[in-house]
Symmetry: C2
Subunit: 134 residues, 2 copies
DNA sequence: CTAGGTGCAAATTTTTTGCACATGC
DNA sequence: GCATGTGCAAAAAATTTGCACCTAG
């Protein structure tokens, strides 16, 4: 009785791949992951479906990291940590996403704009990268 | 007696253009802005110099917005507001950049990483875009 | 003379798109 | 049969790079 999607087999597989990992993949990664299982898949289809998911509100972009757009199917707002060396992206618990109540209104006044959302990103070195730092 | 840079004329002009605007320009914008005044300038030189500034710590990237990397010569950490429609980028006063003291440590533990910095971005509609919304 | 900076164009990289064909209802 | 989805390859768009030249010291 819940949202049964009516996806094509490929669309379903792409969504499944995206939502079953926490690495916040690029289109390329999703394609590589799937092409063994779906030999007929094309990279253009992955790009097209990722766009579809964004429009449907099933996925969002984390931004272009090291030249590739990275995606997330977890729609609950939460911060990310990005390693500046290996570009790994990790989730930060949503409890750290809080911007004080008063801030939206103040920023709206400062910028003469309507604020709809915000994002917080932490940058640094992940453990394995810091172990191999000079 | 202060930091007198030793930039070439073109590098100086590129830095001057970047640091004299608050629109957080792309390489293309800087190039268009300068090419009247410096007819010999090439876009590759703008790209190269923007990279140089990043390495020197004189500029930083705000990210790839609508397909183009956007730059900022204001190095004091501060949030940005980005209009989802026209991609205008505005500064938010640095007072709003504060993440509570305890958070860095907690996120480091959560992510098993070293946090070096963070960024906060607000998204929404700027005044002129919201006036023309459907 | 040397090192660094630049123009130019080609190359690279990522993403988008046009079109013909396939598939499900 | 129609609307939607897809493969394929070409196109588009942004950025990087190789190379020859040029200019300041």
């Amino acid at each position: 009785m819940h949202s049964k999607r009516n996806f094509s087999a490929k669309r379903e597989a792409i969504y499944e791949t995206l939502s079953s990992t926490n690495i916040h993949p690029s289109a390329e990664w999703v394609y590589e992951k799937l092409k063994t299982e779906l030999p007929g898949l094309s990279l253009g289809t992955v790009y097209r479906n990722l766009s579809v998911f964004k429009e449907m509100g099933l996925a969002k972009s984390i931004g272009v990291i090291n030249g590739q757009e990275r995606f997330d199917a977890v729609m609950t707002p939460h911060p990310h940590f990005i390693c500046r060396k290996c570009y790994r992206i990790m989730d930060v618990p949503k409890g750290y996403n809080i911007i004080e109540r008063s801030v939206y209104g103040n920023v709206e006044r400062e910028c003469d704009a309507t604020i709809e959302m915000h994002s917080i990103t932490f940058y640094g070195l992940c453990r394995s990268c810091s172990e191999e730092e000079p």
